[in-house]
């Protein structure tokens, strides 16, 4: 793993890029900082969906884990008074990965539309519970107190911005290292030919289960970071089906080409939505939807493939 860290160009780009972003974030206007923060936080969930996509699976219900992560932060804050970002993330990732581990035993048997819709069904079960249960805030949700970092309560949002950038960089590096292992390289192998993987002696169900738990944990971290950034959790913006839809939207828009792509996609999506809303408050979805159509028609491998083309023309390897 250390070898991968040393040699891998993508890892270098992640460290350099995210470091630059963490530093420049201090000089950004608040709305730009917010958009990048929200975009990067969503990018973590998209990273998990990208791993599944590379395996040939699409989930229309990862808001389930996104929501579990967000609500885990809200609940440990409200009930245990935990405000530390690390502890909140541990609870969020632990809870979402654990639920992912349990549901994984069912989901690893399904493929295609069944896998996608079963995920949606589970996420809507959680949504149904959250809107009904008063002690969980019902439809209004509840607020999340300010996040602290190792006991320090920062005065402005920049500290949280920097923490989110670092968390995303760590997530991207870990997934990159995973994809470079033999277990990670099974993503493409399983998508290409499950039968051959089984006859080579590896359980496809087990491999998919591992990837599913990983994607659940990433979505949990994503929801947790967004809950901390927003200071609020509620079922509609954390668990409802359009949240899952947005994650799939960003996954397709970003493309599966690199572990950096989900974060780029997440940030582009936030700005696209902001500008579309400013341009056409009544019909902003048309602009967002039209953009996705354009990407599917002209860049089927997503925005990342555009960057790859530009880099290739300039003779720079990514």
């Amino acid at each position: 793993m250390i070898e991968t860290l040393k040699k891998d160009k993508t890892v270098r780009w992640i460290i350099l890029g995210f470091l630059a972003l963490a530093i420049t974030g201090n000089f950004m206007e608040a709305w730009v900082q917010n958009n990048i923060m929200f975009g990067l936080a969503r990018g973590l969930a998209v990273l998990g969906l990208m791993v599944l996509w590379r395996t040939g699976l699409i989930s229309f219900g990862h808001a389930l884990y996104f929501g579990i992560g967000a609500y885990a932060v809200g609940l440990v804050d409200r009930n245990l008074g935990i405000s530390d970002i690390f502890l909140r993330l541990i609870f969020a990732v632990g809870a979402s990965a654990f639920v992912g581990f349990l549901l994984g035993f069912i989901l690893r048997k399904y493929r295609g539309i069944f896998f996608a819709m079963l995920n949606l069904a589970f996420s809507m079960v959680l949504y149904g519970i959250l809107v009904k249960v008063e002690s969980l805030g019902s439809t209004d949700g509840f607020s999340v107190s300010q996040t602290t970092i190792l006991g320090w309560a920062p005065e402005n949002k920049y500290a949280l911005f920097a923490a989110i950038v670092i968390a995303c960089a760590i997530g991207a590096v870990l997934v990159q290292c995973y994809l470079k292992t033999a277990l990670g390289s099974l993503t493409t192998a399983i998508r290409d030919n499950e039968l051959r993987v089984e006859y080579l002696g590896f359980s496809v169900a087990r491999a998919i289960h591992v990837k599913y738990v990983m994607s659940a944990g990433l979505a949990g971290a994503s929801g947790a970071l967004l809950a901390m950034a927003l200071g609020q959790v509620d079922p509609d913006s954390m668990v409802n089906w359009p949240v899952s839809g947005e994650l799939v939207f960003i996954t397709v828009m970003a493309g599966p080409g690199s572990v950096i792509a989900p974060f780029l996609g997440g940030v582009v999506f936030e700005f696209l939505r902001t500008y579309a809303f400013e341009l056409a408050p009544e019909a902003w979805q048309l602009i967002v939807g039209g953009t996705l159509l354009g990407i599917i028609f002209f860049l089927p491998m997503g925005l990342w493939s555009l960057l790859e083309r530009i880099w290739k023309r300039r003779g720079v390897s990514s």
Binding site: A182, S185, L186, T188, N193, R196, E198, Y199, G201, F202
Partner: protein, 264 residues
């Protein structure tokens, strides 16, 4: 033949909704033996292969590998005990290069938990990959994506991937199907030579009688789910039942026996 056969199939049956696809099959195979499986379409050849490799569960009967019961074993566990296979339609990773295909296969074959967390481009795997590519004469295609390979090269890759875990028994389902006439013997020469070096017992399904008579030690002829002949090729290809139900008439017989049998 050794005391404990490499493969022992006893009274193996498989029925689909009452139709017997395999009926009381009894086969023994010795270490290093090369056996050809022949029969018309629907005779039960692939069902037989599928049952041994765990793709289908038998309705009744037993399959023993080196004296150990492996009846109804899961495909991946069949691989673990040393029973591997290739497929009628090559089962390779289509978007990967030849080298990536083999490295992925090798890293899975060497899995022991920790190995799966290492890079598939580990030095020992690269050496083994090079050896296999040379042995199966696909080294010139190492950087070619599998979907762009010719049928023949893809077949060789498929078989090379099936032997990465050094199987004791290898079942090849029509190794030359979809391959041009010019390529057939070249491919079989490579495959049989490589497998003989490995000492594996080989059972292969084949429609081409020229291939059968040239490469196998023994022939199993299938008809309607039953083995109607189990004999060396020179005898099997002259057997009246095999001629009637498998080869299909005098013309085919003459073609099959031209040049004499059994000069592998």
């Amino acid at each position: 033949m050794t005391e404990v056969p490499a493969l022992k199939v006893t009274d193996l049956c498989k029925s689909f909704s009452g139709i017997m696809a395999a009926n009381n099959l009894n086969v023994e195979a010795a270490d290093g033996e090369i056996i050809g499986i022949i029969g018309a379409n629907g005779a039960g050849k692939t069902v037989f292969v599928n049952m041994i490799t765990g793709y289908l569960k038998p309705t009744s009967g037993t399959i023993e590998f080196q004296g150990k019961d492996i009846t109804g074993i899961e495909p991946r566990n069949a691989t673990h005990v040393g029973v591997c296979r290739s497929f009628q339609v090559s089962q390779v990773f289509m978007t990967m290069t030849v080298e990536e295909n083999l490295l992925t296969a090798l890293s899975i074959a060497k899995q022991d938990g920790r190995a799966m967390l290492q890079s598939p481009r580990a030095p020992d795997l690269l050496i083994e990959c090079e050896r296999l590519m040379t042995l199966y004469k696909i080294v010139d295609h190492r950087n070619q994506v599998a979907s762009t390979l010719s049928q023949g090269v893809r077949k060789l890759l498929d078989i090379a991937m099936a032997v990465v875990s050094n199987p004791k028994i290898l079942l090849l389902d029509e190794p030359t199907s979809g391959v041009s006439v010019e390529e057939k013997f070249g491919i079989m020469d490579i495959v049989i030579q490589a497998l003989k070096e490995q000492g594996a017992t080989v059972l292969f399904v084949e429609h081409d009688m020229e291939i059968v008579e040239r490469y196998v030690d023994r022939v199993l002829a299938f008809y309607q789910g039953e083995i109607i002949c189990d004999a060396p090729p020179i005898e099997a290809l002259r057997d009246p039942k095999v001629i009637e139900y498998v080869i299909g008439g005098d013309h085919a017989l003459n073609t099959a026996l031209s040049g004499g049998a059994g000069h592998a």
